[in-house]
């Protein structure tokens, strides 16, 4: 995730408070920790938070911040945790943090896989076995060939990601492979089956694949050529649909604040406060990305 400044117009709300419909908050089930802020060792073309190697717009999380959030989360009865970034494995105390979070609840690590070597895979494996709760690793990939993947994630990344997946599979783990639907029809069942077969060919015994619709903010917006105001949630959302939105039961915490959802890292109006308790309130669907959630069923959860 790169130096590129976020394109402000793309993270600004497209609706006013009054225009946007309100999503009731049902309690904090899922806590996302933006472990490394916007720091990443890649700068993918579709990155919806426009991260990169020198990007410190959102800083790396301090251990004291993590402890404070976890203490609050314990009291609120959080059900699951996600560690994300940027690239969360760039955190200087990554495995210590992971071990700590796993003491408290099931944890999913969202990684681009570049830093998973033999040693890292072994540490994941031992936490997978020892921890009280479930550990899941999710690796992002954008195709089954270097040609498909590398245009999006960068030259040479395919081979390095695949090496990471191999290391995990040799350690006996089956990561979830995440694919962003950046080309039409990739999510179709046939493509899904092909991707599962590909995952098996990498040695994964219990392969799982998650397709994510492309989010139209950050670099993702430039990539699709679609822009903010073209898309918004203007119709009332039925209660059932509301309950399945991440903003009804998830929050994203960074070093500095707590935000509406993991998608709106950059959005200046999506800040709800500094503590989880302050973020315990309804939000309004004001962003272009809300249309992706409501109409395409985007959820970052596995």
């Amino acid at each position: 995730m790169p130096v590129a400044l976020p394109l402000l117009e793309q993270v600004l709300p497209v609706l006013t408070e009054a225009e946007a419909c309100e999503v009731p908050f049902q309690g904090l089930d899922t806590l996302w920790l933006q472990l490394t802020g916007t720091l990443c060792n890649l700068a993918c073309r579709h990155c919806f938070i426009s991260c990169g190697p020198h990007d410190d717009r959102v800083p790396v999380m301090s251990l004291s911040r993590i402890e404070a959030l976890l203490a609050e989360a314990e009291e609120l009865g959080v059900k699951e945790y996600y560690l994300t970034g940027g690239e969360p494995m760039l955190h200087p105390a990554f495995f210590d943090v992971l071990e700590r979070v796993l003491k408290q609840g099931p944890t999913t690590v969202l990684t681009n896989g570049l830093l998973i070597d033999e040693v890292a895979a072994g540490r994941f494996r031992s936490l997978f076995e020892r921890a009280a709760y479930s550990l899941d690793v999710r690796v992002s990939l954008d195709g089954m060939t270097a040609a498909e993947n590398d245009v999006v994630r960068g030259r040479g990344t395919f081979a390095r990601i695949v090496a990471g997946i191999h290391a995990l599979s040799r350690a006996g783990l089956s990561p979830v492979l995440t694919v962003v639907e950046h080309s039409a029809g990739l999510a179709a069942e046939a493509a899904r089956q092909r991707f599962l077969a590909f995952a098996r060919s990498l040695g994964l015994k219990q392969p799982r694949v998650k397709f994510l619709p492309l989010v139209r903010i950050g670099r993702g917006a430039r990539h699709t050529g679609r822009q903010g105001a073209e898309e918004a949630v203007r119709e009332p959302v039925p209660a059932e649909g509301m309950a399945s939105l991440q903003c009804s039961n998830s929050r994203l915490a960074t070093e500095q604040d707590v935000r509406v959802c993991p998608i709106l890292l950059d959005a200046p109006h999506a800040r709800l406060g500094q503590t989880l308790r302050e973020a315990h309130r309804p939000v309004r669907l004001r962003w272009a990305s809300c249309a992706t959630c409501v109409y395409e069923g985007l959820s970052c959860r596995t």
Partner: protein, 264 residues
């Protein structure tokens, strides 16, 4: 010395009338004075109509699972909460079969079942639910239900003991800390627990000064069930699960920890 009482609690019958009979026999032998069923009477197994008279004859207290709600209301799908296309494919097969073979006379019964059962044992507030007390199809797995979250459920729903099913794998946890609390997922008696054994599991609750749970495996005539399933044209994958004890479908809903213990 307070009188010792026993209760049997099971869930996920999935039309497995043979396992149902075996569990009821086992519960009676162990002195259970009341029997509770946490829902999902149909699905997966053969001849869905067979379980109703057995439950009624034995005076089982039944609550409503997502399947019972769906069949009772004639919904287009079971609302099991699967997310994977392959899981949904098999879920649809069994749902369509079950819906077609559940006589209309049982629909009002299914609709009339309560979503929750509350009772009190040894001064403890006992709450029974299908998935979780807040959502009928919420999966409570052992490895993804942290203590803090279970404490929140007990607090929000005014309970000391919480008994659930829906996920199909049995486990129990006594919550550490002052507030205490006991949570038991009683598993399912309709199919084995993805542990390579053909027995099915239910929970036996013992109540004296406190409430304790024991998870009990029960053997039944799985060959006969497999035979009936084949005759009814149910998927070979389901039959295989019955005969081997390994899940072959619904695998995507399993957390990685639970899945890694299974064969597929």
């Amino acid at each position: 010395m307070p009188h010792l009482r026993r209760y049997a609690v099971f869930g996920g019958v999935y039309s497995n009338h043979l396992a149902l009979e075996a569990v009821l026999k086992d519960a009676a032998r162990r002195g259970a004075e009341a029997v509770y069923c946490l829902g999902d009477l149909g699905g997966f197994g053969p001849h869905p109509d067979r379980v109703f008279p057995i439950l009624l004859d034995h005076g089982v207290h039944v609550l409503q699972g997502n399947y019972d709600y769906a069949i009772g209301h004639g919904l287009p799908d079971c609302g099991c909460g699967y997310t994977d296309p392959r899981d949904n494919h098999y879920a649809r097969l069994s749902y369509n079969y079950t819906r077609a073979r559940t006589s209309e006379r049982w629909w009002p019964y299914l609709r009339s079942l309560p979503p929750l059962i509350r009772t009190e044992w040894a001064g403890q507030r006992v709450l029974m639910a299908h998935g979780s007390p807040r959502r009928v199809n919420e999966f409570l797995w052992e490895s993804t239900s942290p203590d803090a979250f279970l404490r929140r459920l007990l607090r929000d729903h005014q309970a000391d003991v919480l008994l659930v099913s829906h996920s199909g794998l049995p486990w129990q946890r006594r919550l550490p800390g002052e507030q205490g609390g006991l949570v038991v997922n009683v598993g399912a008696i309709g199919r084995p627990a993805n542990d390579g054994r053909t027995e099915v599991w239910y929970a036996l609750l013992t109540v004296d000064t406190e409430v304790r749970a024991e998870l009990v495996p029960v053997a039944y005539d799985e060959e006969r069930l497999a035979h009936e399933m084949r005759q009814e044209g149910l998927p070979q994958e389901f039959v295989e699960t019955i005969l081997t004890g390994w899940w072959t479908t619904c695998l995507e809903i399993l957390p990685p920890r639970e899945r890694s213990r299974g064969r597929f």
